[in-house]
Amino acid sequence: MNQVIGKSVNRKDGRAKVTGQATYGAEHQIPNLVHGYLVTATIANGSIRNIDTQQAAATPGVIAVFTHKNPPKIFKPTNNWMTSKIYEARLPLSDNKIHYAGQIVGLVVADTFERARDAAHQIKIEYETHSPQINAQKANYQQATSIFGEDMEYLAGEFETGDISVSGAATVEAIYTTETEIHSPMEPHALVAHWDNNDSVTIYEPTQWVKGSQRTYAELCGVPQEQVRIVSPYIGGAFGCKAFPWSHGVLCVAAAREIKRPLKVVVSRRQMTANTGHRSQTEQTIRLAANKDGKLRAIKHIAKSCTSPVEVFPEPCTGITPVIYATPNMHLKQEIAVLNVGTPTFMRAPGENPGMFALESAMDELAWELNIDPVELRLRNETKEHQRTKLPFSAKHFAECLKIGAEKFGWSDRQMQPRSQQQGELLVGWGMAAAAFPALRNRAEAKIRLLPDGIAHVLTSANDVGTGAYTVIAMTAAETLGLPVENIRVELGDSIMPNGGMAGGSQMTATLTPAVLTACQKVLETAKAQNAKEAFANLRESGLTAYEATASSAPGEEGKKFAFNSWGAHFCEVTVDEEIARLRVTRWVSVINIGRVLNSKTAASQIRGGVIMGIGQALMEECHFDPNIGYPVVYDLATYHFPAHADIPRIEVSFVGEPDLNFNPMGARGCGEIGITGVAAAVTNAVYHATGKRIRSLPITPDKLL
């Protein structure tokens, strides 16, 4: 063992990315490639009365124009979240109905991108327009079910017996709202579809789930799964919006088959504001009742979110509520309404993120109400078991996160009263909040080959969405084989390789590294060797070209004995220049508990990325839809604001806790999403401490501080 696990190791893919050697989906060069440009609806509700494509079709270079009158052949998929799924249940161009502005109503294919775009611009559409439902406040809400069809209402204790007047020595109740946010990955949605003889296709597309994408496209094309190959070695950010095919991908693959040419479709930044997902706006009502000592008597959490007319996706805000604090009485409820907007979907910590903004704000309000330090209030309400499943948490170190975070931040120096800390003309506020995210794990498979040149080659369909998967896979193999990380070659993101699972729900590391570990052990057995050095010697002696082993790893019965969750605490300082409503986040400390940290560098980067995205949500991210026309009124990365460097202070990240060996043989839980949870609440709690003003409606733009 050379003990590389836990060290700070630079990204294996870093050099390729910064030198432009990393080839992203739409950068694949294919001979005879042609370009598709999407035509999108400019109304949000109604239908197409007439679509005139004559002029566009006659434009030089145009090869085909697809509309609902001549859609390419698309087969209906089973559309199940666990096996094969498209983000929007409605197939593109399936009829003349318009459900939201930005909906795809056509695809123009031409020999160049510019000619396709120009022709698309010349298509004339007459609509029958109905007034769209855009206003979430006036929408018609109904009880929501989860994406797996489960009831999302939960009643415990006195709520269950019908006594809903639960109260305590202190009660706080408030409404918290979050705005529509769009994922805005650096790499836009883009793909190339390349058919071979009308019966097999290679799709170069960024996807968080290579095998799922393969199955789904196979169903959409009506071909066996083996005849679809997905190539997705690099992804320039996904955050939940690249897990399943969107309509543009479905259309690209189907159209490429009809025109018998490799086809590229790139969704423009403008189009991406409307038709490739967002996090729904939410409205949450929270009521907390507590005894004088701060012990929670009751939590009531009612959440509302919106979906599109063509898919049901509730933002599951209340899922994390029964995890964090102990309480005998609980009422959780989730409601959903349909708006004429594009389809919302998973976005980094879906549910947990807005849910914890509300819950952790309410906890802060309760702390002020009871005059108890907010760190102390959380410690007093810690729970050893999940409040719904009653299972004990495994390797939980939430209290340490709180205590060590407080110490690193210098929390004990905090003046208790709002507006009590100043720096010249600036008000200074300190805030904190808990972080929490479930630990997920699935089945995965990896293959390893030991090669005569002393290289160990790891192959799996899993991919690296920018998180550092290439590196932790190499580190796991290096550790198990006793090789330097440089001697491990990792190939990812190709459906011809063993099933590596999905990069979603913070599960990739926890799912995949045990399979890599097992495959490495297996290949040493095959080589009859204790370590790689012996194995390579045996290999040379044998005259074989390689030793190979494939292994899979999956969760067992442990989920019936334990609840698995990751934990953390954020502490931050803000300054507020009250006269000019200028808010800055000036200091940040996060202490996180994710079991064993495999790569301290990329893990800390994941947490920092989450914190930065959370600061964006807290301070600036919002996508407004025009109330009359329904189209988003942000149109690119300059108008949809997320943090610039100047908005972000130094973020100090540290980890606590031992390997969670109940969870998997590596002892590692995921860290992709936990970093963002609680961040917005930590900021608004700090703003309250600075100014005495409680902001319950994100983002905290300057107008809200006047």
């Binding site: 403008r270 839809f625 025009d626 109330p627 604001h641 100047a646 300057p702 006047l706």
Partner: protein, 332 residues
């Protein structure tokens, strides 16, 4: 996108004659705004006349003791010019508060004056827009108008001018030198841009064919008291919700002269002359004078559904900027 010809002008006269003879022709220099607009069908020129290689890249001292800035001086070069930093610090700060380093490296002074609004309704041909096509309507007025105008707007257009540089230049009494077939003329910067009225399609008072050749800054003895305060939704790389350029000449405790200009509030950089006049003769150490000046500057403000906050934000920004100017200027 309509095909267009690309021609490189070999002299100012050549450039002017090409665009005078072809109303669909447009000048291009840094292209930081125009190229974006071309990509989304906002402009469909017959030809682009590239003026970027012409002379007009000098910053020279004028006989009066001011500066003459060539129209092709980049935003970066202007912001970093030693005389600008020394004698017109608020101009330097205003430029550095805008865009990004990469954009400022490409963008020119003339181009900055000619950049168009970032109103999202103007920017997408999916929306109707009077600025793009007269008499199609202004959806911003009844839509999401948080970033829109509170001063000088009309029923046909509520867009704002996005430039930071122009706000500083408005405060500094700059003059724009332009040249057309009829020769050169000078336009005070505060009259260079227009209010929308019934012709929001026209941003400026340039006549067809006219080319900006320079911006002239007169000497301003109290320019060092200059402040540029920009308030926005993030710390960098965002347009102003409200910005203020101020300068004060103070003798003893008495204000002798004042400059107040606002950005992000109108279809043009907004010079608050009445507020300036009010300040003359008032005590510089009495903040209530600045409060009253701010009230005067915003007295004609008209708000829409979402931009009401800009009135209060503008007043506070004026108050703060004047307070700092009264103390000799600096960064806020």
């Amino acid at each position: 996108m309509k095909n267009f010809a690309y021609v490189r002008a070999n002299s100012v006269e050549d450039a002017i004659s090409r665009t005078t003879n072809d109303r669909q022709a447009m000048f291009i220099a840094g292209g930081t705004n125009l190229v974006d607009r071309l990509k989304v069908f906002l402009d469909e020129p017959s030809q682009l006349v590239d003026v970027s290689r012409l002379e007009m890249k000098q910053i020279e001292r004028t006989n009066e003791g001011g500066l003459k800035i060539g129209a092709l001086v980049t935003n970066t070069d202007l912001a970093n010019h030693i005389e600008v930093r020394r004698n017109y610090p608020l101009l330097s700060r205003a430029i550095l508060a805008g865009a990004s380093q990469q954009i400022r490296n490409m963008a020119t002074v003339g181009g900055n004056l000619m950049q168009r609004t970032r109103c999202p309704y103007y920017y997408d041909t999916a929306f109707p827009c009077n600025k793009r096509q007269l008499n199609t309507g202004c959806p911003a007025a009844t839509g999401i108008n948080r970033i829109h105008a509170i001063l000088g707007a009309s029923e046909s257009c509520v867009a704002v001018n996005p430039s930071d540089m122009s706000v500083a230049m408005a405060a500094l009494d700059a003059t724009v030198e332009v040249q057309g077939m009829q020769g050169k003329r000078e336009i005070p910067l505060i009259d260079f841009h227009r209010l929308p009225g019934n012709t929001p399609d026209r941003d400026t008072n340039l006549e067809p064919g006219e080319l900006i050749t320079a911006v002239i800054l007169p000497p301003l003895s109290f320019a060092k008291s200059g402040v540029y305060l920009k308030l926005r939704d993030r710390a960098s790389y965002a347009f102003a919700l409200v910005s203020v350029a101020t300068a004060l000449e103070v003798a003893g405790e008495q204000i002798k002269n004042a400059r107040v200009a606002l950005g992000g509030v109108a279809h043009k950089p907004w010079r608050a002359m009445e507020a300036e006049e009010f300040l003359i003769g008032k005590a510089a150490n009495n903040k209530s004078n600045f409060e009253q000046a701010a009230e005067i500057a915003l007295k004609d403000a008209k708000t829409l559904a979402h931009n009401g906050f800009k009135v209060e934000l503008s007043k506070r920004a004026i108050r703060r900027a004047l307070t700092v100017s009264a103390q000799g200027g600096g960064i806020v």
